[in-house]
Amino acid sequence: MAKTFSGGIHPPECKQQTENKPFIHFPLGDKLVCLMSQHIGIPAKPIVKKDEKVKRGQVIGEASGMVSCFIHAPTSGTVVAVEPVIHPLGRKMEAVIIQPDGEDIWMEDFSKCRAKAKKLSAQEMLKIIQDSGIAGMGGATFPSHVKLSPPKDKVIDTLIINGVECEPYLTCDHRLMLDFAEEIIQGAKIIQSILGVKQIHIGIEGNKPDAFEKIKQAASQKECEDIHVHLLKVKYPQGAEKQLIKAIINRDVPAGGLPMDIGVVVHNVMTTYYIYRAIYFNEPVTERYLTITGDGVENPQNLRVRIGTPISKILEYAKLRPGSKKIILGGPMMGMAQYSEEVPVTKGTSGILVLQDTQDMDYKNCIRCGACVDHCPMRLVPSELSITLQRGRVDLAEQYNLMDCMECGVCAYVCPANRPIVQFVKLGKAQLMKQRKAKGAK
């Protein structure tokens, strides 16, 4: 029996359109829009001005504080504007807009750095990772250096590398594991030495046996005895941190807690890959891999795209079908729908999903069928949450563990009454945060 967790669903995978397509290098284009907020935490501060010349890898946005990330110029060129643009979250936010000069010149020559990688201390490596602006590239975009420097009182004994990619449609992590298995293993070992952990576990979902073999092979070399590769049951959300930890090492992250509370740190494969690049090549994040797919494009692909590339360019390349109704950044279960195709690619853009039809917005009373309760991976009672939140009872919803909901969308997926449970939850959480803040201010 493949390892897994309780609850969850089996949505149609829809990965076959792109899973066999190698990455294509996406052209630079004539405009790159670098948002200053591409990570969870405080936005970076732009430190370049209009008309300034920049080189690829040059810092254009400075991290403000610990939980923040540096932003680097994705190519060489001229800053044409520093202004607010539409962010994938819907609001307008500060961005540095660069017009590429086509030369694509790096700030430094990176070929030399390789040799010294092995000799770096944990502190030095952390510094490099922080300076490289790496944030969780699976989509969560939590600054990686923060995850890698747990508070002193937490003893970390296990590192888990997340290669599950349980969101339907997306295949970029899959392709990345096929192309860069060894680099990912190297990245995992870097993280291992930074954290000082013994065990490394790599989790891959059962629908990617080729990636599993590749990674396993890469992990079978010498000095890799502590690396365990697991083929996990195909089930959504197998890639959610808590569920992944449960499946692989059977530990429960306490409600309201973090993986580090039980001695675990989880990193996505793409993050791990970029950590490898940062340490071995001193290379900051200036591009990422993503999947453009869905029934709304004629030419679904896996792409290697510069950060800041406007989505409209990629849609054009993938041949947007007329009449497509929805553009989603991320996967279909947790991705964010966009109203504008002008939003740029950020460090967290794991996929662009274009769908032809929109779902029915009409919803009914909960008929108490229990499907959401049976499938909720957090073992909440989503029906109760949605009903109390619909009535505006945020206080009650809080008692029903509102804050433990990870917005995975399983409940809304199975609901026969088509209830927008995740929407209620998101609103409810925002309200609750506001209330808490107001209370704190008093």
Partner: protein
């Protein structure tokens, strides 16, 4: 501030998830409806064409009531979602086929208008609407509901044994015979008595079931007297299994109801009288372990209740644990009413009573959140 143009073309924005399982309320309701049809067909065969009229009147009334109520409440009319049709069908199944049309209309109307819409419509009702309707007509027109249970005279039972001429349901026979035995034992009227009863309690019970009530076979097929759609255990089982297969109902709820009923009906003591003509001794005794478990789950509304009434999503607990508690409760109450209560049948009231406890059950069976301390 002037309106700012934000983008050339606007796409639809909705909250995640952006894909949904192909399941909806109409599909669930119509599936239940379809799965109920075989049992109704046996009902029509056993009770004659009038049963069909009862069904049609009941469904029509339910749908009209739904329409009126939804218009009055100013909500969207959802006749096509099948929920009113299912309620109408279920109500027809749990009343006698020999009924005045106005009784059917009253009950069906009550089911929808009072038991469902007065509480806020589908999803908000506390009691199973069809059963609430049945309880209402039983209280209002009791004489019709309990007095006559006629069935077509030209029906052959499977076992070849004649149907009780009185038209009494198997459960009623059972109850009245047990009661009679107590009286007869006291009167020492051996001539009459021995026809019915054996020489001790256990034999007595077996005999009553075989001779007076109905055979297992008849109960299983449905060629017995009873409410319109409740008699055919096999057809109800079939429909129930289809619903379980499609995940519309959970197997553990009907199973707990049936198991609890069978177990308790077998164990719990019944008061019977006995008489031994040879010695002239007689007495009244509480006989333990004398009940016939299979008889109790095949007879009366047990199958219909277990598979189609108790499993009503809206009025049953939401978690598996809750449903099991709910099922046990229904089984216990059913047997207590059947053996010791004033009515021969107890499924309807047990389910209604347990419906009332659902919010409480839900509250105490809320699952422990992932990573939560118990």
């Amino acid at each position: 501030m002037p309106e700012e143009k934000i983008a050339e073309k606007l796409y639809t924005v909705t909250s995640s998830p952006h894909i949904h399982k192909k399941i909806n309320i109409p599909w669930i309701m119509w599936m239940v409806f379809v799965c109920l049809i075989p049992a109704g067909a046996v009902g029509i065969y056993v009770h004659g064409i009038k049963a069909l009229w009862v069904i049609l009147i009941s469904i029509a009334t339910a749908m009209i009531a739904e329409y009126i109520c939804q218009r009055m409440r100013g909500v969207k009319v959802t006749l096509s979602d099948g929920s009113a049709a299912v309620t109408g069908l279920l109500f027809a199944y749990c009343i006698s086929a020999e009924n005045y049309w106005y009784v059917v209309v009253f009950g069906s109307f009550f089911s929808i208008a009072i038991a469902k819409h007065a509480f806020g419509g589908l999803g908000m009702n506390i009691w199973n609407p069809a059963l609430a309707g049945r309880a209402f007509v039983l209280a209002s027109f009791g004489f019709i509901m309990t007095a006559v249970w006629p069935i077509s005279s030209n029906i052959q039972t499977v076992s070849g044994q004649p149907l009780p001429t009185s038209g009494a349901t198997p459960l009623r026979c059972l109850k009245s015979t047990a009661e009679k035995s107590v009286g007869l034992a006291a009167s020492k009227d051996a001539s009459h008595y021995l026809n019915i009863l054996g020489e001790n309690g256990k034999q007595t019970w077996e005999k009553i079931r075989k001779q007076e009530a109905a055979s297992w076979k008849d109960l299983f097929i449905g060629t017995v007297s009873g409410c319109l759609g409740e008699t055919s255990a096999v057809m109800l089982l079939l429909g129930g299994i289809v619903l379980i297969f499609y995940g519309i109902i959970k197997w553990y709820l009907p199973l707990t109801i049936l198991l609890t009923t069978a177990l308790l009906a077998w164990i719990l003591p019944v008061k019977v009288g006995w008489y031994n003509p040879a010695s002239g001794a007689n007495g009244i005794e509480w006989v333990w372990f004398a009940g016939d478990p299979l008889f109790h789950i095949l007879a009366g509304g047990c199958m219909l209740g277990a598979f189609f009434m108790a499993t009503d999503m809206v009025t049953s607990p939401i978690t598996a644990k809750g449903q099991i508690i709910f099922g046990i409760g229904i089984g216990v109450l059913t047997v207590i009413i059947r053996l010791y209560g004033g009515y021969p049948e107890g499924v309807c009231y047990s389910i209604l009573l347990m419906n009332t406890t659902v919010p409480l059950i839900d509250r105490y069976t809320r699952p422990k959140v992932f990573g939560g301390r118990s």
